[in-house]
């Protein structure tokens, strides 16, 4: 009896020591990752004079920077612009990518795989390489300096098609056959089975598309010229260069405001990233 517990105790101690070091390492890494972010948030509450002097820990916390950001700059306008653009792009991605993916999975047509590989191939091209031809195209279409220029080139995404195709392929073949026996048309199967079945992936893609669009910087900068069209990332840049004396506290506060929607999306999205919602369809 005595010996039994000795072996057990040794194992427990070993495991505890192992866990201790694991957590120490994780805490250090987490601190390194989050430090710049916390520092930024902290400075957004400091008066600009303190920042300029480099006294970060003076203890004069104030909301003044946020008030300035909202009252003195166009940040609300930037936020609205980004919200509109990102929402449009998000819904466009969900709709067009799922339709494309559905075709690649459930429709049988000639050159299906070849076409899919071509779609995949476009992912090889970095966006920067497409900027010049795209710019020429939108210029000829007369879309420059307009909301649509930030939406139309991004209506669909090869990544989204690829991701949803992988998801749709997980749908059991039996489910499609059962739907055939029930007489569902392709549109009905797409709408009533495929989309609800792939809810998790659709939320993931929505979050990804929204954030991707929210963080757009290069393209809006090239294609819009007026302030009232600028999305947030370009707006931020604008704040920094507009004034001779940089109000760093205010810029920092604006950056914090801009990050908030990202955090909201991730926070709520996280709930859906959990797997297991589709259990029970098939054994």
């Amino acid at each position: 009896m005595q010996m039994d517990t000795t072996v057990m105790n040794q194992a427990t101690t070993k495991r505890r020591i192992g866990n201790f070091f694991k957590y120490v390492a994780l805490i250090i890494l987490a601190f390194i990752v989050i430090f710049p972010f916390v520092l930024g948030l902290w400075t957004s509450f400091l008066p600009s004079m303190d920042i300029a002097k480099g006294s970060l820990w003076g203890g004069h916390l104030t909301l003044h920077n946020y008030v300035t950001a909202f009252t003195q700059t166009k940040i609300l306008r930037y936020l609205l612009n980004s919200l509109v653009i990102s929402t449009l792009v998000m819904f466009a991605h969900l709709f067009f990518c799922s339709l494309g993916a559905y075709a690649f999975v459930f429709l049988d047509f000639k050159y299906r795989n070849l076409l899919f590989y071509i779609v995949l191939g476009t992912m090889m091209l970095p966006f920067e390489a497409e900027v010049i031809p795209n710019f020429t195209t939108v210029k000829m279409l007369g879309l420059l300096n307009h909301y649509s220029v930030m939406v139309i080139p991004f209506l669909t995404s090869a990544f989204g098609i690829f991701m949803l195709r992988q998801t749709f392929k997980q749908i059991p073949k039996d489910l499609k056959e059962a739907a055939d026996v029930d007489g569902l048309s392709h549109w009905q199967f797409y709408w009533q089975v495929t989309l609800p079945y792939s809810k998790i992936s659709l939320f993931t893609l929505a979050a990804y598309s929204f954030l991707g669009s929210w963080n757009q910087y290069l393209w809006p900068m090239l294609t819009t010229f007026s302030d009232h069209l600028r999305p947030v990332q370009d707006g931020l840049r604008q704040l920094q260069s507009e004034e001779t004396f940089n109000d760093w506290g205010m810029v920092q506060a604006s950056a914090a405001i801009v990050v908030i929607p990202t955090l909201i999306v991730l926070f709520f999205g996280q709930h859906y990233f959990k797997s297991g919602l589709n259990e029970g369809s098939v054994k």
């Binding site: 055939d180 026996v181 009533q192 079945y197 589709n278 029970g280 369809s281 054994k283």
Partner: protein, 369 residues
């Protein structure tokens, strides 16, 4: 009227061998028709061709006298139960059952009534608001059954519906399905690889193997008159013994000799030559002998309580299985003398049945006497 298959053939590639060829069968209204065969024999393919999910390459399919080749699945007016249940994970039990009815644009009141009836029939009324993931395997299977019941079509196709359940549940569901089928007067086509399911449930059985229909008959008909080696081996546990034997003497004879102690007497004489005799394990007998006498050595004994299965190696290196009722004590390595009780099948060189020696009917007669 029923369902009629005439020369049904499925070829996926012009240049390749068909996966099913020349399937002919007639399935009567209201019968439980089992299609049985080992995996890869094309039984699921055949079922999907009847359902209309995959096209028929050649041949004619008639349902109630109407040619159905090329008709879309929903217009064939049948329901189907899948091996994987194929439930919609995001819908609760009642909505799963109602799904097909809604797709067919049935009146809401009618849908509610049918869903309630179907769920009551499979005892799932209290689970109607649960999601499939909150149900056990057997309950999921019953939801799939309820879906077929609610559709109210008189033809139901089932593709190995019980193979994901554990053994005890399978036995119970077997009789539940049988009961439902009788109560609703369904024409049920049931695909399985399990010969026990075929034996216990079917009115008629189709045995598929090697892309061809081997035999269509009632379960006992198949057990008592297996058309060939494959069918004989596929039905009955433990497996039938297939032994090589030659006719006694020079000319035609009414006795087949496996070895010195193992003889089979025939009603009719057969031409001189070598044949294969099939003897069910319960139609063989053994007597322990001393020293090195006898014609076989025991290599394995399985005691099941009510019967004992003895595996022995004949001296000509052929394994035989013998079933004795009750509990028999035999040692491993014990020398025994194996003999045949009488009933046997004789197969020719092409593996087809050519003669029966008193079949298995004798058994049944003996019981009734």
């Amino acid at each position: 009227m029923g369902i009629e298959l005439k020369g049904i053939t499925k070829t996926y590639d012009q240049h390749e061998k068909p996966v099913l060829s020349e399937v002919n069968a007639e399935i009567q209204d209201g019968e439980l028709f089992v299609i049985v065969g080992p995996s890869g024999c094309g039984k699921s393919t055949l079922l999907r061709m009847i359902a209309g999910i995959i096209p028929i390459s050649d041949g004619v399919l008639k349902i109630n006298g109407q040619v159905m080749n090329g008709v879309s699945p929903k217009d064939r007016n049948l329901s189907m139960v899948f091996q994987s249940y194929a439930l919609y994970p995001f819908l609760n039990v009642a909505d799963n059952v109602a799904f097909g009815l809604k797709a067919r644009k049935m009146a809401p009141a009618e849908i509610t009534k049918r869903v309630d009836d179907a769920l009551a029939m499979v005892n799932l009324t209290e689970y109607r608001d649960r999601k499939p993931r909150e149900l056990s395997g057997g309950q999921r299977q019953r939801v799939a059954l309820a879906r077929a019941i609610a559709s109210d079509s008189k033809i139901c196709l089932m593709d190995e519906p019980l193979s994901n359940l554990d053994a005890q549940l399978r036995v119970r569901m077997r009789s539940e399905i049988r009961e439902l089928q009788r109560k609703l007067g369904l024409t049920l086509i049931y695909v399985t690889h399990d010969q026990t399911e075929a034996m216990t449930m079917a009115d008629h059985v189709m045995v598929l193997h090697d892309q061809h229909v081997q035999q269509i008959d009632s379960p006992l008909g198949i057990y008592n008159h297996p058309a060939n080696h494959f069918v004989a081996q596929f039905f009955g546990t433990p497996q039938i013994n297939l032994l090589s034997a030659r006719t006694a003497g020079q000319g035609a004879a009414d006795e087949l000799i496996v070895d010195a102690a193992l003889h089979v007497h025939l009603d009719e004489a057969l031409n001189a030559g070598t044949y294969t005799v099939g003897i069910r394990p319960n139609q063989m007998d053994l007597v322990p002998v001393m020293d090195n006498g006898g014609n076989a050595t025991v290599i394995n004994v399985e005691a099941l309580g009510d019967q004992t299965i003895i595996e022995a190696m004949l001296d000509n290196d052929v394994e035989v299985r013998i079933v004795k009722t009750g509990q028999v004590s035999v040692d491993l390595q014990q020398r025994i003398e194996v003999s045949a009780l009488g009933p046997a099948f004789v197969f020719g060189a092409d593996e087809a049945l050519i003669a029966e020696q008193r079949g298995m009917q004798d058994d049944r007669l003996a019981v009734t006497n």
